[in-house]
């Protein structure tokens, strides 16, 4: 108890310095937490993927379409439970800044494969009946303030022209990890419009979504599918939805690696600041430590004092930073809108934030503690004069 009171008194002997150090710690802990959350958000698509879905795309690349006729052959593959398909629409809503994903899908077969998209029965029927209708996720609808019945104009980039869709329903996510930032439209409507304009671009599919019964068979079924179409005009590449999503993440890997590196740099910066604080503190108290030693306290006592003080300040900064991260993350998610479909501070991140604060505290105290435990009593006391 006595040592704790001494620690507390010591920690706030220079209130301004301690306050500044805590501010620095809070900034670093918050920055670290936010950076980790941003990196997590990148992986959200892969995290939310289902192990019972495979994605079949052209072996060349995602931008090369597959013929719709493959659907029947895919259905016949052993182990396949359901087939649907989707095309990336790539339309622009008002301006390029409002980016959100739009997929042209076949509602009857698509929604059963995506049970995490929860649509009210009435809305679903209304959407299925209206060929120019769309459904959107809750987050997207909230962002633009769309109501059911609204007209949503999109300027096509891949499918030229201006398209107007009617909002027929809003889907919710079955859990917090579900991407509710998408728009789904009728594939058949898109297909007919393209057929009418130029017959060549009809009956083409971006990717097939393959539902499988048993996740353990994913690799086997994938091989069966790709073997079916080997040496055909359009060879396929089938992978689990997770692998497919991770493929997107890997594309921006350089940026992710940079973000991760930078999240450690901020820790090193604050380590330097905190080590400086503790070095200065120790230097000022040289005489006191010498006195303590002269009174018979062992060197470990001084070490304990310094580590205790450093860890105490670090923990204070860490906890404050942790508490600040949550509201800031909510603000950030609001400000970036639909850029990150899922933006949540994970439990692992919070744990790491505290751990990092403690490591900073421990490292900062190491050098002064080592030095102070070795001071010569006579020299230390002489320092006063």
């Amino acid at each position: 108890m006595f040592i704790f009171r001494l620690l507390l008194k010591n920690a706030f002997r220079h209130p301004l310095r301690t306050l500044l150090t805590i501010v620095g710690l809070v900034v670093a802990v918050v920055a670290f937490g936010m950076l980790r959350t941003i990196v997590d958000a990148w992986y959200a698509g892969a995290e939310a993927s289902s192990s019972t879905r495979l994605i079949t795309r052209s072996a060349t690349s995602l931008t090369v379409p597959l013929p719709l006729a493959y659907a029947e052959r895919l259905r016949a593959v052993d182990g396949v439970d359901g087939i649907s398909w989707s095309n990336w629409f790539g339309g622009v809503y008002v301006s390029e800044r409002n980016f959100f994903p739009q997929f042209a899908v076949d509602p009857q077969s698509y929604l059963p494969l995506y049970p995490e998209f929860v649509v009210k029965a009435d809305d679903r029927v209304a959407w299925e009946r209206d060929r120019k209708g769309v459904i959107v996720g809750r987050k997207l609808a909230d962002k633009f303030g769309w109501q059911v019945g609204d007209q949503i104009p999109l300027r096509g980039t891949i499918y030229p022209g201006t398209w107007s869709f009617t909002l027929r329903g809003i889907y919710d996510g079955a859990d917090a990890g579900t991407d509710t930032n998408q728009m789904l439209m009728h594939w058949a409507y898109l297909n007919e419009t393209m057929r009418a304009r130029s017959g060549r671009r009809a009956d083409q599919v971006g990717v097939f979504i393959v539902g499988i019964r048993d996740p353990n068979n994913a690799a086997l079924v994938s091989q069966r599918i790709d073997a079916q179409f080997r040496n055909s005009l359009a060879e396929t590449l089938t992978e689990t939805e997770k692998a497919f999503q991770l493929g997107f993440v890997a594309m921006s890997e350089a940026i992710l690696v940079a973000l991760q590196a930078v999240s450690f740099i901020v820790i090193v910066i604050i380590m330097a600041v905190m080590a400086n604080t503790m070095t200065m503190t120790a230097r000022e108290r040289l005489a006191e430590y010498a006195t303590l030693k002269a009174l018979g306290f062992p060197p470990e006592f001084v070490v304990r004092l310094l580590f205790g003080e450093s860890l105490f300040i670090a923990l204070l900064g860490g906890v404050l930073g942790l508490l600040l991260t949550l509201p800031l993350a909510a603000l950030f998610a609001g400000a970036t809108g639909t850029l990150f479909p899922v933006f949540r501070v994970s439990g692992a991140t919070m744990g790491l934030q505290l751990a990092v604060a403690l490591v900073v505290g421990a490292v900062a105290a190491a050098w002064p503690a080592w030095k102070m435990s070795r001071i010569n009593i006579v020299n230390g006391l002489r320092h006063v004069a």
């Binding site: 310095r17 670093a28 931008t63 030229p160 910066i269």
Partner: protein
């Protein structure tokens, strides 16, 4: 005239407290390093894509397509473009027009083994002529009408199975890499080139992705564009090639720029706090000296300047160290997916004098903000109190 505290006194004070100075400067150096690296990255992306375009080239895409992979131009439309006035011709009278299919090919990266999209461009002798920065550095040009391809240097170095002599399998055919080209650090370094007609057949495509045109002179652009805009058969967008590639760099460069600069600013709070603590410590341990200086006749302004100067010198040390570390990044080449084209783009970190100046100013700014309050406090101390404290 006001007597100033000599610079050597300021510098020596930093040296006396080496550990503290070093730790504070190290924190600042890291912030400046992040700041400079981000600026170098955005500059690298911009200059790579700006170098890709030629001033007297014009690129034509389908209206609203924005990127070559989204675009489609029918053979009829391309034929009309070839007949437009204002287009340069070669000595044999052929219009300098290159009709090109572009497709993305998913290839594994050499570093991680993970696949990424590489732009595969169908082109021709004329297409190569329109891009004078491209030279073959290994092997030879592909033969017209064959399944031969040439690979840009960044692709050959960065991806598996694209080196000279390798075979690429796609579109139901085997394509042999017969040459590697260097495109003077432009976007073409990240592409694979094949024969345009062969690529169209392999993909079973009926339309080109883009049409690249050499204008008879740089100023002919407006006239040619107006003709394309007014022709009802051509629902196409014509752009100067330079502008087209500059636009492709925008979203990625802006994204990295905004993200990186906000990070640097947040991090700088930590470094500023460090500088403030150090300077407060410096003031507190020299109260007696301050009193002596004042008693010797140095004014408050001189004391303020001395401590502010110390903070600025401290931050300059950090800034220079950080900048030197960032200089080392110039040797690093990065390759990542450009969102605008959905394909790989290799670029180098580029340090310009402007970036160096900005980084040092940023460091000095941190020093100023961190040092001002302690210096202010030092200047406000009363001589008597100082001397008594000592």
């Amino acid at each position: 005239m006001m007597a100033a505290v000599p610079l050597s006194y300021i510098a020596r004070n930093l040296w006396v407290r080496r550990v503290t100075t070093g730790l504070t400067a190290a924190g600042m150096a890291l912030v400046v390093y992040v700041f400079a690296t981000v600026l170098m990255m955005t500059e690298g992306i911009r200059s790579t894509l700006v170098a890709t375009g030629q001033a007297d080239n014009m690129i034509v895409l389908r209206k609203g397509a924005g990127a070559e992979i989204n675009s489609g131009i029918s053979r009829e439309q391309a034929a009309i473009i070839e007949t437009l006035p204002g287009i340069a011709t070669d000595p044999r009278g052929r219009p300098l027009v290159s009709k090109e299919p572009v497709v993305l090919n998913n290839l594994p990266k050499r570093s991680s083994g993970k696949p990424s999209n590489v732009t595969m461009r169908g082109t021709s002798e004329i297409g190569a002529l329109l891009r004078p920065q491209v030279r073959i550095v290994q092997g030879r040009m592909f033969r017209a009408g064959s399944n031969e391809v040439i690979a840009g240097r960044a692709v050959a170095d960065g991806f598996q199975g694209v080196q000279l002599g390798a075979t690429l399998r796609f579109g139901g055919r085997d394509w042999v890499v017969v040459g590697v080209f260097d495109a003077a650090r432009s976007g073409f370094d990240s592409e694979i080139w094949a024969d345009a007609e062969q690529l169209m057949q392999a993909l079973r495509r009926q339309s080109w992705s883009s049409v690249l045109v050499r204008l008879s002179d740089v100023d002919a652009f407006d006239a040619v564009r107006d003709r394309i805009d007014t022709d009802p058969r051509l629902t196409l967008d014509a752009k100067r090639e330079v502008r087209f590639y500059a636009e492709q760099s925008e979203s990625l460069a802006n994204f990295i720029g905004i993200l990186g600069t906000s990070l640097a600013v947040v991090f700088s709070i930590g470094a500023v706090v460090g500088a403030t603590i150090t300077m407060f410590g410096s003031v507190a341990s020299r109260i007696g000296e301050i009193g002596t200086l004042r008693a010797l006749g140095f004014r408050r302004g001189a004391v303020l300047a001395a401590f502010l100067g110390e903070a600025l010198l401290l931050s300059l040390v950090g800034g220079v160290v950080g900048l030197l570390a960032a200089t080392g990044m110039q040797a690093v080449s990065v390759s990542t997916t450009n969102f605008a084209t959905f394909s790989e783009l290799a670029f180098q970190f580029r340090l310009t004098p402007l970036i160096a100046a900005q980084s040092l100013l940023f460091a000095l700014g941190m020093g100023f903000v961190g040092g001002f309050i302690p210096a202010w406090r030092a200047a406000r101390l009363k001589i008597v109190d100082c001397l008594r404290a000592a």
